[in-house]
């Protein structure tokens, strides 16, 4: 137990706060700060001006629909094709949620384990870096060859994209040892496991939420990409098929759905972070 001999210095710059790596909680905390009715009104007015202005400009210069459809056409396509697009959204969500859950779980467990063994971490680090930096989309053709055209290759791709993102962020969190807090727990006779669950895990929580957010966005990206390659079903497949048929309003309707999905994911983790890791800010 080498940690026994570390006297915490309790200087204010101790590991307890700050220094959380590339991404940090402030990215989450800097979320929409809507304060009052007036703010809402301004946001709505700006949105109306942007959308209305776009509509007006596209009309004014009579931009052809295959270059850029008008907002009204996109909205119309969204309504008329909604029931047709919906199952594809369902497929994308299935791939995303199962792939993300698997990837996040494995990533969290690996992060927890390797940070307990610094030596193992040194050995594994390069491979993790490779997993993080290699776009998992590159593997999709291979996965399709091996697992066919169903959910399986897509779920694997999503898991491979999300897992490492969750892992590096969570590992950063688990590495934030605050020797003072660990000493506190040890002074009551805490076991290594108790220290993990009651000190390390809560301290890592803000970074874990960052990892989950980044991971799920990467997962969405990969799911859509895999659908574009794999064909058959899913929002990505809709994108390729609508663009090949030059159905641009429908195409943009799908893009709109994807961006709303992305925003919802962001907001979900923002709120979760706010609820469970607000002590950080």
């Amino acid at each position: 137990m080498e940690s026994t001999d570390a006297i915490p210095q309790f200087s204010k710059s101790d590991a307890g706060s700050g220094g959380v790596g590339v991404a940090n909680m402030s990215a989450l905390a800097a979320g929409p700060g809507i304060q009052s009715v007036r703010d809402v009104a301004i946001i709505v007015i700006v949105a109306v001006i942007v959308v209305g202005g776009l509509e007006l400009l596209l009309n004014l210069f009579s931009v052809p629909q295959y270059v850029m459809p008008k907002p009204s056409e996109i909205a119309y396509a969204l309504v008329t094709d909604f029931w047709f697009i919906l199952p594809h959204l369902g497929h994308t969500l299935v791939e995303l949620s199962s792939g993300f859950t698997i990837g996040a779980l494995v990533g969290l467990i690996l992060a927890a384990v390797i940070t307990q063994f610094p030596f193992a971490e040194k050995i594994i680090a390069p491979y993790i870096l490779m997993l993080v930096t290699t776009p998992m989309l590159a593997l999709v053709p291979l996965l399709i060859l091996r697992f066919g055209f169903g959910y399986t290759p897509r779920i694997i791709a999503v898991a491979l994209a999300a897992g490492p993102m969750v892992m590096i962020n969570a590992a950063t969190g688990f590495r934030r040892v605050d020797s003072g807090k660990i000493a506190l727990a040890r002074s009551y006779g805490a076991s290594t496991l108790q220290i993990f669950w009651k000190i390390r895990a809560p301290m890592a929580l803000p970074m874990i939420f960052v990892g989950l957010m980044v991971g799920s966005i990467f997962g969405l990206l990969t799911a859509v990409g895999a659908e574009m390659v794999g064909g058959g079903f899913g929002l990505g497949n809709r994108l390729t098929s609508y663009s090949s048929m030059i159905q641009m309003p429908q195409f943009f309707a799908v893009v709109l759905i994807l961006s709303i999905l992305g925003i919802l994911i962001y907001v979900l983790f923002f709120l979760l972070g706010k609820k469970f890791a607000s002590w950080e800010t």
Binding site: I7, F10, G180, K181, R186, S187, Q194, I199, P202, W279
Partner: protein, 268 residues
């Protein structure tokens, strides 16, 4: 325990292995703290005060020598010893109540609600149970830490510069509070501080440590009745004692300046 000695330190030495060789942090320290006594330790930075305290808490092992609690060697943390750290060291994700419940969770026991309520009342924290640490002032946080340390009724309280980060007024308040609690509970208290005034005000005995290697240099009795008032701080006795201790510490620091960082090995 028949001799009334609560904590006994015998020939305690601690060597830290460092990149530039072994560092002798404390060298053959001897110290007895009687049950129900308040002892302060002062000394220059690096004289091994924290090291000594941590070996007593069972968080550190000694390189040689022994520390005993009630005549039994201390080898691991024990629930007979409560610790108060320099910054309050509260868990920021837990509210006050959950912070105080933390020791019990670790020990797998039910908190003694009545006793904790009494302590909370004593330190003036009633009604703050659901506050988060960041919502509290430094003094209030340290009160929570004090309640947490006393919540499981340890017979010894070890405090490492507990009020160093507080302003002078809050610090004085906390000193009175510690004495009040002491008079209630008669807990044996060992207090490390950088403030000679605080050391004298609270202690029955002030121990001065010297640096490199950390040794126990001298010991001074503070024979004032309790409860003490701040008035004693302006008496001639206290004035003289403060000066003596100050001279010892400053002298030690001066003589240290000429000396290289000791890398001597502990004897034994």
């Amino acid at each position: 325990m028949s001799d009334g000695v609560k904590l006994r330190v015998r020939q305690a030495s601690k060597i830290y292995p460092t990149a530039s060789g072994d560092l002798l942090a404390i060298d053959r320290c001897d110290l007895d703290v009687r049950a129900g006594e308040i002892v302060s330790i002062v000394g220059p930075s690096g004289s091994g005060k924290t090291t000594l305290l941590w070996t007593m808490s069972g968080l550190h092992s000694l390189s040689s020598g022994e520390v005993q609690l009630d005549g039994k060697p201390i080898t691991a943390p024990s629930r007979d010893i409560g610790m108060v750290f320099q910054d309050a060291n509260l868990l920021p994700w837990r509210n006050v109540q959950a912070n105080i419940a933390f020791p019990f969770e670790i020990m797998g026991q039910q908190p003694d609600k009545a006793w904790i309520a009494q302590l909370m009342h004593r330190v003036g924290l009633e009604g703050f149970e659901n506050r988060m640490p960041r919502e509290l002032s430094g003094g209030m946080q340290q009160r929570v830490a004090l309640v947490r340390a006393l919540s499981f009724k340890p017979s010894v309280l070890l405090m490492d510069e507990p009020f160093g980060a507080l302003d002078a007024f809050t610090r004085e308040e906390m000193n009175h509070l510690v004495e009040e609690i002491y008079l209630d509970t008669r807990t044996t208290i060992l207090l490390i501080t950088h403030s000679i005034e605080e050391a004298i005000f609270l202690a029955d005995r002030v121990i001065v440590m010297s640096a490199r290697p950390g040794r126990i240099a001298s010991e001074h009795l503070v024979p004032f009745a309790r409860p003490r008032s701040m008035e004693i701080m302006s008496t001639k006795e206290v004035f003289d004692l403060t000066n003596i201790i100050k001279k010892e510490i400053v002298g030690d620091q001066k003589s240290m300046a000429g000396r290289p960082r000791s890398t001597a090995r502990a004897a034994g």
